[in-house]
Symmetry: C2
Subunit: 199 residues, 2 copies
DNA sequence: TTTTATTTACGTTACGTTTCGTAATTAAAT
DNA sequence: ATTTAATTACGAAACGTAACGTAAATAAAA
């Protein structure tokens, strides 16, 4: 099978147009919220035509996810030291990030996303599950360092630590704040057999 | 088969909405021309929603035809007297009517219309062929009165009298004016054997 | 008779695509 | 090397429909 050359004939796609659309999408998400993120609104604010927007993203939902990934702040520095310090720092970072306007729009975007979409999977991995993976790595390191015994079911422990963050984000029944993060970590450490009782 | 009662349940269609859309369509045709008669433009000017417009007319073309029929001025009084007087008066009326903004939009609307549409047939009959039918009746009356012998082919004679009006309307290569109307009638009368030569 | 439920039309907004004229590229012709 | 042709993307405007909340009617229930 001959090796196909990339299609370079004709007018090249405009990176500027794509950037303008993403920027407008971020602005609308921050200023007006996920519900007002529509293709018409992005086209109006950015000056990018709707055909061009549809050439880059399948629908408004995928554009929202792309915009939110694009606007992600730099990854926070990992804490060093004991497991409790590292875990608390990491969970505190996630809680702080989600307690922002961007965090709330992330929750809405994910809730509204098409489950089967590859974009949704990428978005979920990048924005939601990446924190959980850091948690897994942190636990593994603590086991190797002999700080704790290997948990019986790491997946469940990770869910019990990270799911409540997302839960409060979406439901909003109780505050998603530093107190909640501290309590969550304390309970998580207890689960891991690294709680205060063990001194 | 049981006799079905008209559907009177629910919110009745609004005659006011329909009238407002037609009025806006007439205004756009007169002010901006047939090419600018779009569903979006009519909706914007009239305040009638697009779903409501589409509930009344299939597309912009049909709306244009409906608007032009609606705005037709009252039928002119038929002339009495000799064939030449009656025919000249009628053709002069048609030429005068077509030489207006409305006349020009009629021509464009018909040219752009879907040939298979019942609306197009109704429009053609009402606005174009009705003049031709009056011509046919005028010729019939002249034959009965002994003013002329029965033409060999009435259809061709009618086409030769009325087609040039429509032709000048659409093509615009020469003026559609009273001189043209007079010349057309003179030639037509000659065809009918009722020309000046016969005194 | 009055109130509530049901049905159908309304306008707004958004959706996603099509058409059109123009722009930006590469390929072919000169 | 330059010019012309062909290809592909661009934005504006229009298309025609769907979803939604509201309005205006009639039918049913109380």
């Amino acid at each position: 099978m001959s090796q196909d050359k990339p299609n370079t004939r004709g007018r090249p796609p405009s990176k500027a147009a794509r950037s303008k659309a993403l920027k407008a999408a971020v602005e609308i998400l921050m200023d007006l919220g996920f519900g007002r993120l529509t293709i018409d609104a992005v086209a109006a604010r950015s000056g990018v035509g709707k055909p061009t927007i549809y050439r880059n993203w399948a629908n408004a939902s995928e554009l929202a996810m792309a915009a939110l990934m694009e606007s992600q702040p730099t990854e926070p520095v990992q804490a060093t030291g004991a497991l409790s310090e590292r875990l608390e720092h990491q969970v505190m970072s996630i809680v702080t990030a989600f307690a922002t306007t961007r965090g709330r729009q992330i929750g809405l975007a994910l809730a509204a996303a098409d489950r089967d979409s590859e974009m949704t999977r990428a978005f979920r991995n990048r924005v939601i599950l990446s924190g959980r993976e850091i948690g897994r790595a942190t636990i593994s390191q603590a086991v190797k360092a002999g700080e704790i015994a290997a948990p019986r079911d790491t997946e469940v422990v990770l869910d019990m630590i990270y799911a409540p963050i997302f839960y409060r984000l979406l439901v909003g029944h109780l505050p998603l704040d530093r107190d909640f993060a501290a309590a969550l970590v304390a309970q998580g450490l207890a689960l891991l057999g690294a709680g205060d009782q063990r001194g």
